[in-house]
C-alpha cells in the first residue's frame, strides 16, 4: 500500500492566490466596467435629526448627463423597508426606509439619489439637490439617550431602548452580601470605524434572460441574495450575487445597506447596469460602525482575590436604526461572555440596546466578544489592583481549570466553552515574554523615572454560530450550517465550491489543504470557487470566525464522501469487495494481494464514462454537503504587552507584544499568524488610537475622513510574537476553532492594562480608550496636582 501523502494541514503552505494580487490583477468591484453602465450618487443628510420639509429635485434633473433623480417618497412602498436579520425576542424594531421619507436620523442618511452617465456628473447633480430641513434636537451618546428628557428617535421605541436582555446565573445578591468587598467600575468601549481598505461598491446589471447580476464585496453572498430579493421584490432564483475579490470585510460587509437595494432596483427600472462606489469620507457616515458601549460593573470579592460574583449593566449604542444584527451584539455576544476565562458562579447582567442619532452600529471584528472580554478583563485587573495582588496570580487563582471542560460559565444553558487550557497558555506566554525579568526591569527603571508597564489579558469566546435550531431560539432569521461541493473531473482533478467567502483570509489555500488531505491528491489539482451564487450551491459566508470550523468541516465531510464513492467504483473495477479496498496517496489498492492499484484519475474517468459501475452506483463523482455543526468552538488565548509611557508627553511606546492562542488544530500556521497579527493591530488601534467622535450638541460626525480618524500605520505598532497551543475542538471533525477575531478581542484590555501598569506610580487606576497622549498627559497632570494639594 502507498504511504499517505504528507499532510498539507498543519503546514505553512504559501498562498496560492497571491500572484494576482501582487501583479495588480486582483479584481475588486470598482475594477468592473460594463457597457452602458450608469453611475448612482447619493445625497446625504447634513443633519443628525431633522424633519424633511421639502425636497427640490428640479435643478439636479436638469444637470448634464443626469438620467434619473429620486427622493425617498418616490420609493416609498416600492422597495424596503430594511429589516434586521437578528432580532432578539421582545425587541421593538423601528421602521427603516431605504431612503429617508419625512425625517432624517443621522448625518449621512440617504435623502435622495442621482443616476448619471459619469460619476462626476452624478456628484455634480447631487450638489444641486435642495432639501429644506426643520432641525430637531439630536442625541448621540447612549447614556444621554436614555434620560427622560432625551430627544426621541422613533415612535415605537419608547425611551430610545429597543431591547432589554438579561442573563442570570447563581445568586449575585447573595454573593454581594457574603463578599468582603464589592468594587465598582465604569468602562466605555469606544466607537470604531471598521475601515476596510476597499470601500463598499455595488454594480447591478440586468441580464438578457430577465435575471439580475449584483456585483458587491459581500462576506455573505447567498444571504445578500435572499435579503436583496426579499427587500426589492425580485424572485431569488433570478438574482445572482457575485462577490469578486474583497478588500477586507471585518464584519462591515455582511449587512444590508440602502445602496445594495437601490442599484438592483434602478438597474431593473432603467434596463442598464447601475454602479455605486463609496468614497472614503462617505464610508465613514454610511457603513456601519462598531463597539460603542458603556458598561457599569460590580465585582463581589473576598480579600484573598476570590471572585464570588459579578454584575454588569451594558448600554449598547446601535445608532439610528437597527442594522442587520444590531440587537445581538451588545446582548448575546457581549454579556454572555462577561465572566471571561474565570470561575464566577454568580452573575447578573442586563443589556439595553439604545438608538441614537448616529451611524448604525453592527458587527466589527469580534462583535460583542471584544466588549465581553473587556468587561471580564478590566474587572479582574481592577480586583488585582485593588487588592494589590499580582496580575498573573489573580488570573491563575480564578481561571477555569483544564479539567472543567466542557464548561458552562455561571451555570449557563447556552454558553459552553468546549475545551481549553488557560494555565498552559499563560505559562507559554510568560516564558516567551520573559515575565520575571521584565518585572525586575520595570521596578529598576521606575526608580529612574522611566515608566514601563506590563499588560496581561486572557480571553475565550464562542464562534461559528450554530447549530441552526439554536439560532432560531436567539432570534436569527438564518441558519448556522455551511455547504461544500466537491466536483471531480474526469482526470481526477477537483473543483471545490464553498459557501465561505474569503476577504483576504486565503481560503483558496486553506480550503484546498483540507480537501487535499482527504482526497489524497496534490494541492495543485484543486481549485476553489467562492462568491458567486450561480456557481456555489448555497452558503452563509464568512464572519464570526466560522470559515474553517464550519466551512472547512463541510468540505472535509464532502471530500470524505467523494472518497467513499470512488472506493465503490474502484471495487467494481478491481472486482473485489468494497471493504477490501484501501485508498492512499491517490491509489486504490487491495492490501495483501498483487492486484495492480488503480489511480484516482482512472476511477474518476470511470465515474464519468460510466461503463463499468457497480450496481446501484450512479455515474459521476460530484458530492454536495450541507453541514450543520453540533456546537460552537471556543478559542482562547493569553496576550502580554510591554509598554513605556512618557508622562511628560503622554506618548505610549509599545516595546513588545506576545500572543499565545489556542485555536484548536491549525490548518496553516502562516495564515493563522497573519490573522493574529492583523487582529492584534486592530485591537491596539482601539486601545491607543481610534475613536469615532460626534459633536454632542449638533450630532455632527467629527471623524469624517481618514484625516481625522487614526488608523495606525507601520510606525505606530510593534512586532508581534504569535505562538499557538493546539487543543482540538470536539465540536467539529477537524478539531479547529475560530481565529479571525482573537487578536481584536485580546489586544484592547492587554494594552490598557499595560498602560495602567506603567501609570500605577501616579495612582491612576482607570482610563477610557483610546489612550491618546492628551488623555494620558491630562491624567498624569491631574494625579500630580492632586498629590500636591
Amino acid at each position: 500500500m502507498n504511504a499517505p501523502l504528507p499532510p498539507y494541514v498543519g503546514q505553512p503552505v504559501k498562498r496560492r492566490e497571491d500572484f494576482k494580487f501582487l501583479t495588480g490583477k486582483g479584481r475588486y468591484v470598482d475594477d468592473i466596467k460594463l457597457p452602458g453602465m450608469l453611475y448612482m450618487a447619493i445625497a446625504r443628510s447634513p443633519h443628525a435629526h431633522a424633519i424633511i420639509k421639502n425636497v427640490d429635485l428640479g435643478p439636479a434633473r436638469a444637470s448634464p448627463g443626469v438620467r434619473l433623480v429620486l427622493a425617498g417618497k418616490d420609493l416609498d412602498g416600492r422597495i424596503g423597508p430594511i429589516v434586521p436579520n437578528w432580532i432578539i425576542p421582545g425587541s421593538r424594531v423601528p421602521f427603516r426606509p431605504v431612503i429617508a421619507i419625512d425625517r432624517v436620523r443621522f448625518v449621512g442618511e440617504c435623502v435622495a439619489l442621482v443616476v448619471a452617465e459619469t460619476l462626476a456628473q452624478a456628484y455634480d447633480a447631487v450638489d444641486l439637490i435642495d432639501v429644506e430641513y426643520g432641525v430637531l434636537p439630536a442625541v448621540t451618546d447612549e447614556t444621554a439617550a436614555i434620560r427622560d428628557d432625551a430627544p426621541q428617535l422613533h415612535e415605537n421605541v419608547a425611551g430610545n431602548v429597543t431591547t432589554i436582555y438579561r442573563v442570570r446565573g447563581g445568586d449575585y445578591a447573595k454573593a454581594a452580601q457574603e463578599a468582603d468587598q464589592v468594587i465598582q467600575l465604569r468602562i466605555a468601549n469606544n466607537r470604531l470605524i471598521p475601515t476596510c481598505m476597499e470601500t463598499r461598491s455595488v454594480i447591478a446589471a440586468p441580464d438578457p434572460d430577465d435575471t439580475l447580476t449584483v456585483y458587491m464585496p459581500s462576506q455573505v453572498p447567498h444571504m445578500h441574495r435572499r435579503w436583496i430579493a426579499e427587500t426589492v421584490g425580485i424572485p431569488e432564483h433570478r438574482l445572482r450575487v457575485v462577490a469578486p475579490d474583497i478588500g477586507g470585510g471585518f464584519g462591515a460587509k455582511m449587512h444590508l445597506y440602502p445602496e445594495e437595494l437601490l442599484c438592483p432596483y434602478l438597474a431593473r427600472e432603467l434596463g442598464v447596469p447601475v454602479k455605486w462606489w463609496e468614497s472614503r469620507s462617505e464610508s465613514h457616515q454610511s457603513t456601519s460602525h462598531g463597539r460603542a458601549h458603556t458598561e457599569t460593573i460590580e465585582v463581589a470579592i473576598r480579600n484573598d482575590g476570590t471572585i464570588l460574583g459579578m454584575k454588569v449593566d451594558t448600554l449598547g449604542n446601535v445608532g439610528a436604526y437597527l442594522s442587520n444584527m444590531a440587537t445581538g451584539g451588545p446582548t448575546v455576544n457581549t454579556v454572555n461572555f462577561g465572566t471571561g476565562n474565570y470561575k464566577i458562579a454568580n452573575y447578573e447582567a442586563t443589556s439595553r440596546i439604545v438608538v441614537t442619532n448616529t451611524v448604525p452600529v453592527d458587527a466589527y471584528r469580534g462583535y460583542g466578544r471584544p466588549e465581553g472580554a473587556y468587561i471580564a478583563e478590566r474587572a479582574i485587573d481592577a480586583v488585582a489592583r485593588h487588592l494589590n495582588i499580582d496580575q498573573v496570580e489573580i488570573r491563575r487563582k480564578n481561571f477555569i481549570q483544564r479539567t472543567d471542560f466542557p464548561y458552562r460559565p455561571y451555570g449557563s444553558m447556552g454558553t459552553i466553552y468546549d475545551t481549553g487550557n488557560y494555565d498552559g497558555l499563560l505559562e507559554k506566554a510568560l516564558a516567551a515574554f520573559d515575565y520575571e525579568a521584565r518585572c525586575t526591569e520595570r521596578e529598576a527603571l521606575r526608580r529612574h523615572g522611566i515608566y514601563r508597564g506590563i499588560g496581561v489579558a486572557a480571553y475565550t469566546h464562542m464562534c461559528g454560530m450554530a447549530p441552526s435550531r439554536r439560532l432560531a431560539m436567539s432570534g436569527f432569521d438564518r441558519g448556522g450550517w455551511e455547504s461544500a461541493r466537491v466536483a471531480i473531473d474526469s482526470s481526477g482533478r477537483a473543483t471545490v465550491y464553498s459557501g465561505s467567502m474569503s476577504q483576504g483570509h486565503g481560503h483558496v489555500t486553506s480550503l484546498s489543504q483540507i480537501a487535499a488531505d482527504v482526497l489524497q491528491i496534490p494541492i495543485e489539482n484543486i481549485d476553489v470557487i467562492q462568491g458567486d451564487t450561480r456557481q456555489v450551491q448555497a452558503g452563509h459566508g464568512t464572519f464570526n470566525s466560522r470559515s474553517m470550523a464550519v466551512g472547512g468541516s463541510s468540505l472535509h465531510v464532502c471530500s470524505q464522501q467523494i472518497v467513499a464513492k470512488a472506493k465503490k467504483i474502484a471495487a467494481g473495477m478491481l472486482e473485489v469487495d468494497e471493504k477490501d479496498v484501501a485508498y492512499s496517496a491517490g491509489q486504490f489498492s487491495v492490501p495483501g494481494t498483487d492486484i495492480t492499484p488503480l489511480s484516482f484519475a482512472k476511477v474518476a474517468r470511470m465515474a464519468y464514462v460510466g461503463h463499468k459501475l457497480p450496481d446501484g452506483v450512479a455515474p459521476g463523482l460530484d458530492e454536495t454537503v450541507f453541514y450543520d455543526p453540533t456546537g460552537m468552538s471556543a478559542p482562547s488565548g493569553v496576550h502580554l504587552a510591554y509598554v513605556e509611557v512618557d508622562p511628560e508627553t503622554g506618548i505610549v511606546t509599545i516595546l513588545d507584544y506576545v500572543a499565545v492562542d489556542d485555536v484548536g488544530t491549525l490548518i496553516n500556521p502562516m495564515l493563522a499568524q497573519g490573522q493574529i497579527h492583523g487582529g492584534v493591530v486592530q485591537g491596539i488601534a482601539q486601545a491607543l488610537y481610534e475613536e469615532v467622535s460626534y459633536d454632542p450638541d449638533s450630532g455632527q460626525l467629527l471623524t469624517g475622513s481618514l484625516l481625522d480618524y487614526a488608523v495606525p500605520r507601520a510606525e505606530h505598532v510593534p512586532n508581534i510574537t504569535s505562538l499557538f497551543q493546539e487543543t482540538p475542538s470536539p465540536t467539529n471533525p477537524i478539531g479547529v476553532k475560530g481565529i479571525g477575531e482573537s487578536g481584536s478581542i485580546a489586544a484592547p484590555p492587554c494594552m490598557v492594562h499595560a498602560v495602567l501598569d506603567a501609570l500605577a506610580p501616579f495612582g491612576i487606576t482607570h482610563l477610557d480608550m483610546p489612550l491618546t497622549p492628551p488623555r494620558i498627559w491630562a491624567a498624569v497632570q491631574r494625579a500630580r496636582n492632586g498629590a500636591n494639594q
Binding site: L22, D245, H677, G678, A714
Partner: protein, 160 residues
C-alpha cells in the same frame, strides 16, 4: 462648453508604452490610469491622500496618484504595479518577498505598498526596521498589522 468640461490631451508613457487620452481638467491621475488605461491594479482607498493605495512611480519617483491631476502628468513616464516585473508571468524581487513572507491578505493595499517599498529600497538600500516602518508610513494596510510586510522588506535588505 464650461471650463470644467473642456478636454485636454495628455500624452505619457505608461509601463513603457506611449499613450494619450483626452481628459477633463479636474481628472486625477489615478482615474486616468484606472479608467482610461484600464490599469486597475492601482487602487483608490481614500479621498484625503492618506492611504497610499494609489501609489505609482512618476518619472522614477513614488507618488500618490490621487494627488496629481492627469494634465500635470503630461509628458511623464509612469510605472504602475502592472509594469513592475520585467516578465509579466513572474514576480520581481519585492513581489516575491511579499509572497514568501505572507505580507498580503486582501491585497487591496498591496500594489501601492509594493511601489512604496521599491522607493524605500532605492532611498535606503540598507534600511533598518525603523527606516522600513517609517518608509511605508504613507501606506495603510488594515489586514496584516504590517508585521509580515516589515519582514518581507527586511529580507530584501539582508540580501544586498
Amino acid at each position: 462648453m464650461s471650463e470644467v468640461e473642456k478636454r485636454h490631451v495628455v500624452t505619457l508613457e505608461i509601463n513603457g508604452v506611449r499613450r494619450n487620452a483626452e481628459v477633463e481638467p479636474r481628472k486625477l491621475l489615478v482615474h486616468l490610469i484606472r479608467e482610461d488605461f484600464g490599469l486597475t491594479g492601482t487602487h483608490v482607498g481614500c479621498d484625503t491622500s492618506q492611504c497610499g493605495a494609489c501609489t505609482v512611480e512618476l518619472d522614477g519617483q513614488a507618488i500618490k496618484s490621487c494627488t496629481v491631476l492627469a494634465v500635470m502628468a503630461d509628458g511623464a513616464s509612469i510605472t504602475t504595479i502592472e509594469g513592475v516585473s520585467p516578465v509579466a508571468s513572474r514576480l520581481d524581487a519585492v513581489q516575491t518577498a511579499f509572497h514568501e513572507h505572507h505580507a498580503l491578505q486582501c491585497g487591496f493595499c498591496t500594489p501601492g505598498m509594493v511601489m512604496s517599498v521599491r522607493q524605500l529600497l532605492r532611498d535606503h538600500p540598507d534600511a533598518n526596521e525603523d527606516d522600513i516602518r517609517h518608509g511605508i508610513a504613507g501606506n495603510i494596510c488594515r489586514c496584516t498589522g504590517y508585521h509580515n510586510i516589515v519582514r518581507a522588506v527586511e529580507s530584501l535588505v539582508a540580501k544586498d
